[in-house]
Amino acid sequence: MTIPTNSDSTGTEGGVGKQLLPSPVPVQLIDQHGEARADARYALPDPQALLTGYARLISGRRINDQANALVRQGRLAVYPSSHGQEACQVSAALVLQSQDWLFPTYRDTVAVITRGVDPLEVFTLLRGDWHSGYDPYELHVAPQATPLATQLLHAVGVAHAAKLRGEDTVVLALCGDGATSEGDFHEALNFAAVFHVPVVFFVQNNEYAISVPLKNQSVAPSLAHKAIGYGMPGERVDGNDLAALLSVLGAAVDSARSGGGPALIEAHTYRMQAHTNADDATRYRSAEDVDKWIPKDPISRLRTYLRGLSLLDDAVEEQFAADAEALAASIRAGLNADVEVDPQELFAHVYTQKTAQLREQADLLRDELSREAVQS
């Protein structure tokens, strides 16, 4: 893909922003039946990359299933599942190099784990031990953001600083379709475009924001179209087609890295499960609506495709399943063990130096707890 630069977008009569427009239909390289589709601009990724990606999809699905089960068992407070969105999750992590940054949301646990963060550290938040469990600098993964769209501006800031510091860093920032309505989304796009910084905004359009369908969220031709108002290219991609995602996101990351500026990529996918376990999706959508998306599953089409190439056989599949099972088992074991969190930590990180008031409050709690311990 050739992503137009700022200067291209100034446009000539009738053509303002034309080069910035997304393709009329989402880019698809492997259709839901597992058939390859030719595309004029985007090439199929190398088969080995697809095989690696496939293994990650299998693990991603297993992580979602495992986390849902752990909620039912009371081991996690809540889990926003990405079941059905695993191709988006996996590609968001795989297109990045080690120096790049990922800015995930609450829904992007699988992307964060695919990036390499220790799953138990990722689940610290949802287990309820602390607000974020991993070191963001270790693998360049920002804490998962809950206040919608706010993290997009942080992504712009990290990219802007990287540019000023002369780093070879691209930032990939995730958000949902609903989050594109927030003011921060628009401010982030505009800042990124004006400062011409290397950010790829990646919207997972799963058609719902809790109960609100996309049609009540936006009447734009697509969410990707919003890019052109800010002078950056937009692109639409089949969010259940790992091949297309790797190709489209990869091109946007390459372009950003080589000074081409930001881009907005919208992936068309679907939230197959409720918003979280606390949500009752039957109140606002029918089972038939959800069922329509089953044949478009990201795993089944890639499996058909890879089996067709003879890259995938029973033995390889068993290996992938066993790897995913081992990951799930380690998550289970880790989350079934009770971890004590030292209550004194509550006061330790609010300021770099504990204030006099916080020292007093920490002492009060320590005293209460030691009296309780004596009583019991």
């Binding site: 407070a77 809540v78 926003p80 609450y106 938040l125 949802l126 287990r127 309820g128 031990d129 602390w130 607000h131 809950t146 206040p147 919608l148 609903g178 989050a179 309505s181 927030e182 003011g183 921060d184 924001a209 809790i210 109960s211 609100v212 009540n216 969220q217 936006s218 918003h275 979280t276 606390a278 949500d279 109140r283 606002y284 969190v341 209550p343 509550l346 006061f347 609010v350 204030t355 008031q357 916080l358 409050q361 709690l365 209460e368």
Partner: protein, 369 residues
């Protein structure tokens, strides 16, 4: 993220109010249609009744339409009044708040829901710079009869950004009326009063009380409110439990905790009065100070971090007005001055019965108890 754990708190009743059957006095002893009603149902009924009574009352926000809100407070309103009266907006709190301002300027009475306390912050600019100031700027020519409903505070095991006690930001902003009911009866009456008020109201709904129940007759409450015979709640605190030795001053989610502390204290032979402030702005100095003058001792209880908080304001007001009646400094039991903790640690943060009783013990009792 929406995290809801069903945790019913002990019902807190207000015995000094006109006869309301409580759980201890079953409905059968009166001939009213009183039944056990949840706090959530009382709010839902208040909204429906207000919309029924006045076609300019609108309800909008995130997921308040077909879903009925993540806490189901708007359940059934779209079906009953149509999508023009109760509807979902695009996901943008500043947009919701700013549009409500315009609607209120043009003859409507919008009620907006901020999904959770911390998700109201994107709308802060609209609230502080416009909702609170427009009537004053225009010398009262523009009135903003709007209600900002906010499920607030903690105690539900919610993850970050779902449990903030944000009352102090609003109470600190002149122009906003700030209410925090603690009983099912008040949930109904205060929301009706808030919607009827010509001034903008921040209406704080303690999440942990949504599933608490009280035996009330909603039909009777509706009738008394609509005929104007219900006692006014805005600007009026209530004695939720009478006592003689010290006054516990609480509001919203802390009222049931204060009631439990008073019950525990009475077993130890100490008689504590509990004041439910319920109207943070305007504040009822008279009721609060009358109680403290009677008892001579006071502890203010609130979930919010204590520094520069509503609790701090209450302590200051009581100290200024009741100094010569006080046998001990007025004390506070509040959340610590830290961000709201993760679910597993929240019990350390929340004011507890033990922490309240410890503080009461320190109120310089002559007998050295």
């Amino acid at each position: 993220m929406t995290q809801i754990s069903e945790r019913a708190a002990a019902p807190a009743t207000a015995p000094n109010l006109p006869a309301v059957p409580s759980a201890a006095q079953p409905a059968a002893t009166t001939q009213s249609a009183a039944t056990a009603v949840t706090f959530a149902k009382a709010l839902n009924t208040a909204l429906a009744d207000a919309m029924e009574a006045d076609s300019s009352v609108l309800m909008f926000g995130e997921d308040v339409g077909p879903l009925g809100g993540v806490f189901r407070i708007t359940d059934g309103l779209t079906a009953r009044f149509g999508p023009g009266r109760c509807f979902d907006t695009p996901l943008a709190e500043a947009g919701i708040m700013g549009m409500a301002v315009g609607m209120a300027m043009n003859g409507m009475r919008p009620v907006v829901e901020m999904q959770f306390d911390a998700f109201a912050y994107p709308a802060f600019e609209q609230v502080v710079s416009h909702v609170a100031k427009l009537p004053n700027r225009t010398k009262g020519r523009v009135l903003l009869p709007m209600v900002i409903r906010i499920p607030y505070a903690g105690g539900i095991g919610g993850v970050e950004h779902h449990c903030d006690s944000s009352e102090s930001y609003y109470a600190h902003t002149p122009g906003l009326t700030v209410l925090a009911p603690a009983t099912v009866r008040d949930a109904y009456l205060m929301l009706r009063e808030a919607i009827a008020l010509p001034d903008p109201v921040v209406f704080l709904e303690p999440k942990k009380l949504y599933w608490s129940k009280e035996v009330v007759d909603l039909g009777e409450l509706r009738r008394t409110f609509e005929e104007g015979s219900a006692p006014r709640t805005i600007g009026s605190a209530v004695v939720a439990r009478s006592g003689t030795d010290a006054t516990l001053i609480a509001y919203g989610p802390s009222v049931p905790t204060a009631m439990a502390a008073a019950a525990a204290a009475s077993e130890e032979g100490r008689s504590l009065e509990v004041i439910d402030v319920r109207s943070l702005v305007p504040f009822d100095d008279e009721t609060v100070c009358a109680s403290v003058r009677r008892t001579g001792r006071a502890v203010v209880i609130a979930e919010t971090p204590g520094f520069a908080s509503v609790a701090a304001e209450i302590v200051a007001r009581v100290q200024e007005r009741c100094f010569h009646s006080l046998a001990a400094p007025v004390r506070r039991v509040t959340g610590f001055d830290i961000p709201y903790p993760a679910p597993k640690l929240e019990h350390h943060f929340l004011p507890s019965v033990d922490r309240i009783l410890d503080t009461v013990d320190e109120l310089q009792w002559e007998d050295g108890q």
